[in-house]
Symmetry: C2
Subunit: 365 residues, 2 copies
């Protein structure tokens, strides 16, 4: 059977190995598996969310409220914007998909950093669009500007991942705003703020406020997620914030019931759990320092991180070998070989988790 041409250029996203797989493949006991590969929240699921999910268990047979009225209302209050400026996705991933299906096609292109979230490229390829990347792996706005000017006729979407996944670096807000000002109003600039809460906690110059974006620009889409700071990676829920015109266009591509009933319940509940968020931020910043100290002490290069993970760059050792050896001990980290880097991304865990990782890593250096 023949399929559409675009399928020929598609590859699947390689996700972090799930715990279940390590149990199956390496016979490690489930309780001994430590997964610090997917930037999940090491504090676990908020207790308040757990309670709400248990209560919601009896309503799994009912379709979700597709208006998502309550969650949009809560997000409006949080960000001081209108519900009409919000779209909810099955993860912010899905909002990326909507945006690219709305703007890109085989005749235009996207512009992204040299090494950034893989789904930008994958979804763009679904539409047949071309991908332009900066030569520098990390975000370099001068290079973004240069390529943009050269390929102005083609570029219809620009992604800025602030802070950047999987590297961890973060642009300053003022530079981002200045850059957006230089971009044509018909080009959609997507600010992926999946980890922005972590950056903001470390350095207020990194904070991107969706309301600011709405007030200043008609062509910006801000992405937020419940998968990271809010600890709902398993629930697949995130959101996009933009002008009403953009939200209306994206909504045309949103299938009904794209988010599950328990996901809506969980997201609504975790927004109320401020202590959970605060504890997560504090643990992250404190524990991150241990990794930095370890790297310095052992002569490892690392990228100063504004996220809940840190990326170690290897010279002597091979990142694939290290990841493989750790995997057999039940420690799952993210090898960045697939991104063309001899590097490992490690999610910051709880104190005992980090101790275990650093001890195991030390033995392999």
């Amino acid at each position: 059977m023949k399929f559409n041409d675009v399928l020929e250029n598609l590859t699947n996203y390689e996700a972090g190995k799930p715990i279940e797989l390590v149990v199956r493949e390496f016979g490690v006991k489930e309780k001994d598996v430590l997964k610090l590969a997917s930037n999940e929240n090491p504090m676990g699921t908020s207790k308040k969310v757990q309670k709400a999910l248990k209560k919601a268990a009896a309503h799994a047979h009912l379709y979700p409220d597709d208006s998502m009225f309550e969650l949009k209302d809560a997000l409006s209050s949080k960000y001081k914007i209108k519900p009409e400026n919000i779209i909810i996705g099955s993860g912010s991933d899905q909002v990326i998909e909507f945006a690219l299906h709305a703007k890109t096609n085989s005749k235009n292109a996207i512009l992204v950093a040299g090494t950034t979230f893989a789904m930008y490229e994958i979804y763009a390829k679904h539409t047949g669009a071309k991908i332009y990347k900066t030569q520098s792996k990390q975000h370099d706005l001068d290079e973004f500007s240069k390529i943009y000017k050269e390929k102005k006729d083609e570029i219809s979407v620009i992604f800025l991942c602030i802070p950047n996944n999987p590297l961890g670096e973060c642009l300053d807000r003022k530079d981002v705003y200045k850059f957006i000002q230089s971009i044509d109003k018909d080009v959609l600039v997507i600010i992926d703020g999946a980890y922005n809460e972590f950056a903001t906690f470390k350095d207020s110059k990194k904070e991107i406020k969706p309301k600011d974006l709405l007030d200043k620009f008609s062509n910006v889409l801000y992405l937020g997620t419940f998968s990271k700071i809010y600890g709902l990676g398993g629930m697949r829920i995130g959101y996009g914030i933009a002008s009403e015109q953009i939200i209306k266009a994206l909504s045309k591509l949103r299938a009904p019931f794209n988010v599950t009933t328990p996901s809506l319940v969980a997201a609504l509940e975790v927004l109320k759990d401020e202590k959970f968020v605060e504890d997560t931020l504090k643990n992250n910043l404190k524990e991150m320092k241990k990794y930095e100290k370890f790297a310095k002490k052992n002569g490892l290069e690392f990228i100063p991180s504004y996220t809940n993970f840190i990326t170690f760059l290897f010279k002597k050792q091979d990142s694939s070998e290290i990841c493989d050896k750790l995997l057999r001990q039940g420690i799952i980290l993210r090898n960045l070989k697939g991104y063309g880097m001899n590097a490992i991304r490690i999610t910051i865990g709880l104190p005992k988790d980090n101790q275990r990782v650093l001890k195991a890593l030390k033995e392999l250096l």
Copy 2:
């Protein structure tokens, strides 16, 4: 901002009104709202599923096992097929989306029954494809054949909804097989079996066996869902079964983590709850007869149904008016005016629910 041309022809799917909306808009107390509009399972959520979901509540922060190993394994056993013949979607809706993005584009077309599941058309339009519909609202295979022959150069996907939603009629298996045999192997025939369990229980001639399809045809995609007989409408999970070649192509369009962790848990659990399924089928068939009897007694036309709903066709009354009046009493049914019919689709409920609906309806005739 300009968007891709296809967006101009898109409209959103109108879902059944959620309970929350009736509570908000008409001030009906939540406990008094009766929703028989979305073909949800009136038996509620399986007790076994509820227990499993409560247990899973503590793991909402962990990304799902994207290999979906366990669920594919369970479905393989159920249908006596290989895991490689299965793709899991966020509802079978999403598998429809994958299939259309894989096969259709602005240069080809789909063929569907005059009145059938609206998402076929909506997703096809996302790709810019043309839509051919039979003149008869219900499935008429002669008409399908006629149009197929006339538009052979264009048609790349054919949908058969067996039984049909939102009308309820059902083709016989032998006629379906004969029809597929007459179709070119490069055309994808999609058999939507969302309600097939109900049809099979009523009349074994209607049973479509995915294994038969795999053995006989290389160009068929069977769709199943956990939203109906399995009572997991809120969990957004369904599946597609086809040749490995088709599954591989569709998998390229599947985003990672398209199904939530609790949805995988729930689906796996409900497959084990045979009693829940049996009770659902028995209640449905028994209660359906009350609606048929009511229709005959009151001179209402109806379509003999092989599903968990029944469609009443009105002559004297206006379906919109009736639905509106019932809504104010807290009864939500599905008005089919949007499908160009003066008709109402009613999900078969529990005995007390059906009694309430028929009593209220009687007063409006």
